[in-house]
Amino acid sequence: MTRRIKLLICSILFIINVQRLDAVSRSSGIGLKMSYWNITNHPTRIATSNFGRHASVDISGFGAWIHFSSRAHLNWFFEFQIGAIGGTHMAVEDYVAGTTEVSALVPILLGMRYDMMSSRIPGYIQPYINGGGGPYWISSIKTRGAIELNEQEIVSYNQFGIYAGGGANILLTDWLGLNFNITYHFVDLKFEEEFSGLEFGLGLNFMWGRRSEIFEIKDVQLIVSDIYPAYYQFYNTYPIALVRVKNIAGYPIEVNLRSRLANYSERPSISGYKRIENGKSIDIPVTLIFGSMIQEISTHESAVLDIEVEARVGKSHIKTLSAPITIHNKNAWNGDIDKLNYFITPDEPDILKVSRELSKNLNEYENNPLLHFKQAVYIFDYLNSSGITYHKDPNILFYEDDRVQYALETMQIGSGDCDDLVVLYSSFLESLGIKTAFVEVQDPNKEIAHLYLIFDTDIQPEQGRLISSNEKKYIIREKGNGVKTIWIPLETTLISAGFEEAWKVGAVQYLRDGIIENGIRDGWVKIIHVQ
């Protein structure tokens, strides 16, 4: 009873252990095995008759093999094996006369092995089929003798043959497997040849090297090598990189991708399992999830993007890769005009508080089409009276990016360049519900681009003369619902010169660059709505 329990526990432990093993064959292996192969065409036996006057001993064929294998491609392996099989037949008659036949067979074989379902089976059994060929060295010694007579015949020759069979490796550990096989040897390429026959083998296989792969990472295309904290939310959906994964398993697999930026991602971004058909490749986008700590970076830093690709077939197969990434400081801007939106902070409590306090002074315009226009003038005058002025960006050594201040920072510092002042004024206007847009001028004849603002007065074109008799001072733009309204261009760097002057300069710029010089049509004057 106790012995049975021990056996049961051992069996369970064995199964648990081998279930953890990865059945994917490693790249190389060497094995030793014992085999049974009837090369004498006699069954193995000891026989006597007539009270011992006649006796015979037959050993039909036993031997040993040593074999070596190495991966050729995927689940295909080259194999080389050399064996030594011996068999004998001894017979004695009348106690004195007898014959002895000893046969020896030494096959030196080269072949191929194919591991079937190597990566689909999560457990320990690794079946395979194999085949090949090579020389079979055959040696036979026949002795016939009596008291005075003794004859001996020695025959030795080579014959070419082939073999085919199959077997399985039962993995005991990560590097050791129990191997058994059944192989049919066609010596002299004949089924009926004297030495042709089935061979049964049992042995141990020692393995090392890499496992076969079920997927390949064909390409990693880094789309974003620079992270700008100001628009960190953008990277939640916009791919940082594309990883091309190819299925080489021989059957469909599912692949999941996890990515994170060391020290800056609160948790990994997960692509979800994606099915890849056999032999096909797919591009999996790499996204990142950032925590709020990224917005506290004051100088640019280096970080490592870690990507983990996991294929789920029975057990997980994981590959990891990494790429260096630069994280810029919280005020950095790469110059993409559509990203400037991320610096606008209309819901910043201090901005909301100031703009709404100022707006209270315009209650008389509550039901007047001039409300937005008057609010814009009021805010501009407030910024003017706060002493906000234009000032160029600082020179930061060995650093090329543009620098944009958030509205509150500009209020605290008291100055900024064109993008800082556009962000400042836009934040205030947007906090009052006034739509704004950036006008970016990248005149091909000038080295530095310029930026100013337009805002929606919500005044309809027919009412344009309420604010100006010169229609060249404003722009008519159509909203999504088809309603046209008047937008006013403002040169925000002229905060200190007052609203009227900033408007005039903005209008002339728009007219000259955008219309007369065809900047809008040719694309070097761009209008980007703050949304």
């Binding site: 953008f234 939640n236 089409p369 074109p461 009412q463 005039k504 007219l511 007369i516 065809n518």
Partner: protein, 240 residues
């Protein structure tokens, strides 16, 4: 090869910017003629020999006229009660006109970016619309300004600035979308398109002119002229 062809086509379409710059000299003044510099609010009396820049404007009073020299040689006559921006006289090729019209049509299409743009949260409808704003007070409207713009467009048409005339009419209609012109502007739009052999756009414009001429508040004389001319044009273009 395709890319090269596209590049050459774009180069042909978008002529060098310096070629589009224009300078206007006032040669002769008859009656009350005023000019406005750039984006200034006030009009000032014009004098013969004055040079206008490309952002300036010129306006003639009722019964007045002006003769202009464009970039030193071409003569242009601005008739009574008309207004013209110097930019209205710049070279506009048919391809540029086509692009302009396409741009006007594209403006009516909601940009796709608003649908694909990153949004925080999942708000189906944004609430908070005010009920107070948006209505036009009739007192704020100035129905007469468009007449000068229209007369400027007619002057352009009559002196074979066909593409310029079309652009000016479109711009005027953009600023004054609800004017009661009895279809006169669309009639000239149709005439300009017809002269440019743009049959489809001409027929479309004439039809709108015909429709607008039926407005009950229209002056009977203008109504008859517009309706008759539009009808004849539609017959001429086999649209009836």
């Amino acid at each position: 090869m395709k890319k090269l062809s596209l590049f050459l086509l774009l180069n042909l379409l978008f002529v060098n910017r310096s070629l589009t710059a224009i300078q206007v000299t006032i040669l002769k003044i008859n009656g009350e003629v005023q000019i406005r510099k750039g984006v200034e609010e006030t009009w000032i009396r014009a004098r013969e020999g004055m040079i206008l820049e490309d952002i300036d404007s010129i306006m003639t009073g009722v019964g007045s006229s002006a003769e202009l020299s464009l970039t030193g040689h071409t003569l242009f006559r601005l008739a009574s009660n008309a207004m013209l921006d110097v930019t209205d006289l710049r070279d506009i090729t048919e391809q540029e006109l086509f692009l302009y019209i396409m741009e006007q049509k594209l403006k009516k299409i909601e940009p796709a970016s608003s649908k694909t743009k990153l949004r925080i949260g999942n708000v189906s409808v944004v609430h908070g619309e005010s009920q107070s704003n948006g209505q036009i007070d009739p007192a704020d409207q100035h129905p007469d300004f468009w007449i000068q713009e229209k007369n400027g467009a007619i002057a352009l048409y009559e002196q074979d600035y066909l593409t310029n005339s079309i652009v000016k009419i479109y711009k005027t209609l953009e600023i004054y979308p609800n004017i009661q012109d009895c279809g006169e502007m669309h009639l000239y739009l149709g005439k300009s398109f017809e002269a440019l052999h743009k049959k489809g756009q001409a027929i479309e414009s004439y039809m709108i002119a015909m429709q607008k001429s039926q407005t009950p508040t229209c002056d009977i004389d203008i109504r008859n002229v517009v309706a008759r001319e539009a009808d004849l044009a539609l017959k001429r273009l086999d649209a009836k």
